[in-house]
């Protein structure tokens, strides 16, 4: 209905393979970016920025990472939390050990270290598949968390086992961590990370790298027979995925919750991220964001629901009810749209493009 594609034709492969080949989409994306960078910080208050948007971006990154591994390369992992922890603690050690380095570099370094760890735990993926692999990744999950809990060195021997992000600024005096950090700065900081890394991910999955991954996912035998090396391809997926997750973990520890302990990255976190990509849509960059938004907003919604309805009920009751509703909703979603929100989005877009013809 909104689309008028007549007269839009590509004269180069670059144009034909652009991320948004349709003019209307390009325009929409531009608007979205402008809104995200300018409008939101102006209108949204502290609460929204720091407790909804920042975690949304952090989760989106983690989901993006897991989606690369599970959605594109078809390798199911339950170790996301563990890898986030690696990112968080690496960043902490680096930031505290070398106060001099720019925080951005610290995060990137944290990502790289996580990538290496991911590489290590990815090795079994050559031999084992499906749920065997999933369970194997649990080994990473438990081992890593145990490591950060037990080995005091990782928390600089803090008695409580809690690590607290030292104050750091970007461009000299815009503090994104520490006491005088401003919500808006945090927002822009995480938004930029999310945006840049999302673009990078999109580029990878629409290029040769992505095709390798998807080939392995769709039919590993055929993939090997056309010359794709299974091991290196899978390991690459693990590394890249872990890089994203690691940075997400670092952002979580430094920007979102200024101080954190290892248990924040337990197996429930892994499942949470997994939910995001399933509900958002496997093998879809957009899906990672949609899923993250859903999982971030749902609890907040459920929390405020009783007050909205003016009910006054015990905390325990509320949490239990939340668990139930949460679980029920998950199941409901899987039944309603197994291919996730991204699929809904795609279908809706197709409807608009074909309007008034049926899809």
């Amino acid at each position: 209905m909104l689309y008028r594609e007549v007269g839009q034709f590509a004269t180069s492969y670059a144009a034909d393979q652009a991320i948004f080949p349709i003019r209307q989409d390009r325009f929409g994306m531009l608007v979205l970016v402008l809104v995200a960078y300018l409008a939101v910080p102006l209108v949204a208050n502290e609460y929204w920025l720091s407790t909804i948007f920042v975690p949304f971006f952090v989760f989106s990154l983690a989901a993006l990472g897991l989606n690369i591994l599970t959605g594109y390369a078809g390798l199911l992992s339950l170790g996301t939390g563990g890898f986030m922890a690696v990112g968080a603690f690496t960043a902490y050690k680096l930031a505290t050990a070398f106060p001099g380095i720019n925080i951005v570099l610290v995060f990137v370094a944290a990502g790289i270290v996580t990538a290496l760890v991911g590489l290590l735990f990815g090795i079994p993926s050559l031999r084992i598949k499906g749920f065997y692999l999933a369970v194997a990744t649990l080994a990473a999950q438990f081992f890593l968390i145990w490591l950060f809990v037990r080995i005091a060195w990782f928390q600089n021997y803090s008695p409580s086992g809690v690590i607290t992000a030292p104050p750091r600024a970007v461009f000299g005096h815009f503090f994104v961590t520490g006491p005088e950090a401003r919500a808006a700065y945090k927002y822009w900081f995480t938004l930029t990370f999310a945006a840049v890394l999302a673009l990078a991910a999109k580029n990878m999955v629409r290029g040769a790298t992505g095709r390798k991954w998807m080939a392995i996912r769709d039919m590993d035998i055929a993939a090997e027979i056309i010359g794709i090396r299974p091991l290196s391809t899978k390991l690459l997926a693990f590394a890249v995925s872990s890089f994203y997750i690691g940075i997400a973990g670092a952002l979580w520890a430094f920007i979102y919750t200024a101080s954190v302990e290892a248990s924040a990255f337990d197996i429930d976190r892994s499942f949470q991220i997994l939910f995001m990509i399933i509900i958002g849509g496997l093998g879809s960059i957009l899906g990672s964001f949609l899923g993250a938004a859903f999982i971030v907003l749902l609890p907040i919604f459920l929390n405020n629901l009783p007050n909205q309805l003016g009910l006054h009920v015990g905390v325990a009751l509320v949490t239990n009810l939340q668990d139930m509703i949460y679980g029920a909703l998950i199941v409901f979603f899987l039944i309603a749209e197994p291919n996730g929100l991204a699929a809904l989005w795609r279908a809706g877009k197709e409807k608009l493009r074909l309007w008034p013809f049926p899809h």
Binding site: S12, Y13, A200, A215, E224, I225
Partner: protein, 267 residues
């Protein structure tokens, strides 16, 4: 055109078994550069197994394979691919989640030099390389006359077209040896005609050596320069279509084909 006679691939005394079941026993034949070589035989004669051995998917229990003059005990499939062996499958093995174009592009992966970092930036070299290989893929798309379904996910294509796309993916690798496992299975008359034309054109245009398995005798006789006949996993005949047509062993094997199907279950 490539020179006619040089032997490209030589199979000597290859044997293969699953559990107790013999799939191939002491099979020997050769494939010459630039020829179209057919492998035929009743169901379960071990034809597919033969191809699987050639491109390294199965490891033969005995026998040797000489490819391009080098004797290779056993190549991993991706090594075979690197060495210039491409193939299609009896029951289509396309990447269902991807479009026709992307499937064919995967055939180019071996030729692509870029790495994930360049891909991530998607500037300069990566973009240029992508475009260059897209151009090659497009030439194949034009060659196979599938422009109309370029951007359609292969899962949605009719069977005949999927077979074509799979051929395209194999061609994209610019192979020296192309293995086709029943390229015309389940096709109607027109589709078979088209596919035969494509196979001939491939052989003629690119000088690609082709080894194919096919049940439609008419097609085999028209296309192939020489034919190997397998039955119960052993070679019972080898020669030009004429010779094979009048070979008694072959005739017997094919008369027996009627009550062959249960035996066809394994093979």
């Amino acid at each position: 055109m490539l020179s006619g006679d040089g032997v490209l691939l030589k199979v000597e005394g290859v044997a293969l078994a699953f559990g107790g079941v013999t799939a191939l026993s002491d099979v020997s034949f050769d494939i010459r550069r630039g020829e179209i070589r057919a492998i035929i035989g009743p169901n379960g004669a071990g034809k597919s197994s033969m191809l699987n051995v050639i491109n390294g998917f199965y490891r033969p229990h005995s026998g040797r394979i000489t490819y391009k003059g080098r004797t290779v005990g056993h190549m991993r499939p991706h090594q075979a691919a690197k060495a210039g062996i491409a193939r299609t499958f009896q029951n289509i093995a396309l990447f269902k989640g991807m479009t026709t174009l992307d499937n064919i592009m995967t055939g180019r992966l071996l030729k692509m030099r870029g790495n994930f970092l360049l891909d991530a930036l998607h500037v300069g070299p990566a973009q240029r390389e992508e475009a260059a290989h897209r151009a090659v893929a497009e030439r194949i798309i034009e060659f196979l006359e599938i422009q109309a379904v370029r951007k359609v996910p292969v899962g949605r294509l009719p069977y005949g077209l999927q077979k074509r796309v799979e051929l395209g993916r194999a061609l994209a690798a610019e192979p020296d040896l192309l293995l086709l496992d029943e390229p015309m299975a389940g096709m109607n008359f027109e589709e078979k005609e088209d596919m035969s034309r494509f196979i001939l054109d491939v052989n003629e245009e690119f000088g690609t050596t082709i080894a194919l398995i096919e049940h439609d005798m008419g097609v085999v006789m028209d296309l192939s320069s020489r034919i190997v006949v397998l039955d119960y996993g052993r070679k019972i005949a080898d020669g030009t279509p004429e010779e094979v047509r009048h070979d008694q062993a072959v005739i017997d094997a094919y008369l027996g084909v009627a009550h062959d199907d249960e035996r066809g279950a394994w093979g």
